[in-house]
């Protein structure tokens, strides 16, 4: 069995759901101690109302992750409208200690001269000119938008390599599809965003949205709308390596993410083949439906398991 490409690193994205603080802290503690991931993102990307719940445990979490040898990156909110949100994003960019992932263009305004930053998956990077512009501004890596097909990944990963910046692809977890000013978790409970009573905390992986035919369709996560399927590129890592991708992003869920990241690492290191990797992910996630359709120019709901383009 061949070692695919050891240079591909693993990134654990920011926790996207409203988890109780104990769960949030334990999740990151386990990552620090056990998960073979290189980079861990911290920060509230979805709803600024959630941040106060775990704000106090961030310093100890960061310290523990760093002790575990992880690079810690602070992610900004994906949609910034309130003055408090603008200030929070500015503070993250100004922190000076940790790398920053920008998820709303607003955060770019606060960059210091020559300050490096990472471009998050919520920024529209569809083409070479945009990537070049961001690299000129100081981008050190980009996590590509989730809907890009592999042909585009080829072009952009190649351009990223030429620009000496990293290129990451969304590889595991429900896919963020849209962000809104309106909170849908609140709306389905007859509430509004301002009076939400934090009903989103009931659904640790999002609230399933089904069609009227009872077919699983989407998942609501507060102001964010996600896929019902979990993106899973475990069978595609060879193709992603060929494209020149430098990192795979795993997005936190309630399933055993340490085990998931171990499967990805083992596959990248050539310790297991694709068949075994698929089986192990299935065992860990029991019963979840997966997709990789976006990567192959199909609808994002599909799981393409035949020959790859």
């Amino acid at each position: 069995m061949t070692v695919l490409d050891r240079r591909i690193s693993l990134t654990m994205g920011p926790a996207l759901f409203n988890w109780p603080v104990a769960k949030w802290r334990d999740f990151h503690a386990r990552l620090a101690d056990e998960a073979p991931v290189d980079t861990v993102h911290i920060g509230e990307v979805v709803c600024s109302k959630r941040l106060p719940f775990y704000l106090d445990v961030i310093p100890e979490t960061v310290e523990r992750l760093q002790r575990g040898g992880k690079t810690v990156v602070f992610s900004t909110l994906a949609l910034i409208t309130l003055p408090r949100e603008r200030k929070d994003s500015a503070d993250i960019v100004h922190n000076g200690e940790h790398e920053v992932e920008v998820n709303d263009i607003a955060a770019l305004k606060h960059l210091g001269e020559g300050q490096a930053f990472r471009v998050g998956p919520y920024v529209n990077v569809y083409n070479e000119s945009t990537l070049r512009f961001l690299a000129r501004l100081g981008a050190s890596s980009v996590c590509l938008p989730r809907e890009l097909p592999i042909g585009t990944v080829d072009v952009l990963a190649g351009m990223a390599r030429a620009l000496h910046i990293g290129c990451e692809v969304w590889s595991f977890g429900r896919i963020p599809l849209a962000i809104s000013g309106r909170c849908y978790h609140a709306r389905v409970e007859g509430l509004t965003k301002d009076s939400c009573q934090f009903v989103c905390a009931r659904d640790s992986d999002g609230l399933t949205v089904d069609t009227v035919d009872a077919k699983n369709f989407l998942a609501v996560n507060g102001v964010q709308t996600m896929s019902h399927t979990y993106c899973n590129t475990i069978a595609d890592v060879e193709r992603l390596a060929d494209a020149g991708v430098t990192a795979l992003r795993l997005s936190p869920h309630s399933c055993d993410m340490v085990a998931v990241s171990q499967v990805f690492r083992d596959r990248l290191d050539g310790k297991i083949d694709t068949g075994e990797a698929i089986c192990r992910i299935d065992e860990i996630c029991g019963g979840l439906s997966f997709s990789n359709g976006f990567l192959f120019g199909k609808s994002g709901t599909e799981m393409i398991s035949g020959p790859r383009p």
Binding site: A90, S129, F133, E147, L177, I179, G181, R182, L218, S299
Partner: protein
């Protein structure tokens, strides 16, 4: 009352005939796009060939009407020339402004055509003063089309801080997600609105009759099921009817459209420069009626007269309207 500023009325044109109709009806400015993937209303049979664009801009200018050209999708990697040509041709034809969303295109337009006004498309969803500052200072953007997720108070606060004009949607279809950042249609159909300019493409739409019921389907998913006596709504994900927990119905938004015409005084007070009508895909009769009514309302307001609150209701017949995010309770 005097001294009220007169808001600019920016109207859609899907065809050269539509452009002439909107000008006759009283538009100050027309926005339109080329007949390809470079604009966010890339529907079959719509938009302008090169010759049509050149003639239409000349026609509008003879009538003291401006033309903004929307090049507001995101160029496909490896195929950016198509978008660059749209920008170069708009400049050559004398367009009054480009409406852009992509960082790379803004960069291109600012360096190649610095004299041509650049407006930030709603597809860039710049929802706060910091983002807008970034676009004005990096690309010399002169106007921002505001995303349809802001309250009037937030728009006023933004206008107090920024260094460019703002344009706000007043009437037409309503996106409930931050524009240009939505992959719902893409997830279902595999065709990205950001890249191709089509949300919920007709090629992926089906209507099925099932006993007494009618369903409208997008891709493999049912968006609506209604009794046969009612027309099934066009299947758009964000307006679809679903179940979520014990909730059954429109999880994201009711099949409703925006009518913020009664907020003209508030939007003017909030410092908005111009009001935009959505609907390049609409017929000429609709555009004509909407533009005439809004022209009257804007002029009445500028003249210190009361505005007719019901002027537009007949255009939304059979459909409810909303003031959308302009009212805070929408959230």
């Amino acid at each position: 009352m005097t001294g009220r500023s007169r808001l600019e009325l920016v109207c859609p044109a899907g065809t050269p005939a539509g452009l002439r109709t909107a000008i006759t009806a009283g538009a100050d400015t027309i926005y339109c796009g080329f007949r390809d993937e470079t604009n966010a209303r890339n529907f079959p049979g719509l938009n302008f060939s090169r010759a049509e664009m050149e003639e239409s801009i000349a026609y509008a200018h003879e009538r003291e009407t401006k033309v903004f050209v929307a090049v507001n999708t995101f160029p496909r990697a490896g195929e950016e020339q198509l978008w660059h040509h749209a920008i170069d041709d708009s400049a050559a034809f004398g367009a009054d402004a480009l409406i852009l969303a992509d960082l790379g295109l803004l960069d291109y337009a600012a360096s190649r055509h610095p004299q041509l006004r650049r407006h930030l498309s709603v597809q860039a969803a710049a929802a706060n003063a910091d983002a807008i500052d970034f676009y004005t200072s990096n690309f010399g953007v002169r106007r921002v089309v505001l995303p349809r997720i802001l309250t009037v108070a937030e728009i006023a606060a933004i206008n107090r801080e920024i260094d460019c004009e703002t344009e706000a949607f007043i009437f037409g279809s309503l996106c409930v997600m931050a524009e240009g950042r939505c992959s719902l249609s893409s997830y279902v159909t595999g065709i990205s609105p950001n890249l191709g300019g089509v949300c919920s493409p007709g090629s992926h739409v089906a209507y099925h009759e099932d006993g007494d019921e009618l369903t409208s389907i997008l891709g493999e998913f049912t968006m609506h099921r209604v009794g046969r006596s009612v027309p099934a709504p066009y299947p758009t994900v964000c307006k679809g009817s679903f179940t979520a927990g014990s909730f059954k119905g429109h999880v994201f938004e009711d099949p409703t459209s925006l009518d913020a015409s009664t907020l003209i005084p508030q939007l003017a007070a909030a410092g908005v420069t111009s009001l935009k009508v959505e609907g390049r895909q609409r017929g000429r009769a609709y555009v004509s009626a909407a533009v005439r009514s809004l022209r009257r309302m804007i002029d009445d307001y500028a003249a210190g007269l009361p505005i007719n609150a019901n002027a537009l209701t007949h255009l939304s017949e059979g459909q409810s309207t909303t003031q959308g995010a302009y009212r805070k309770t929408w959230r």
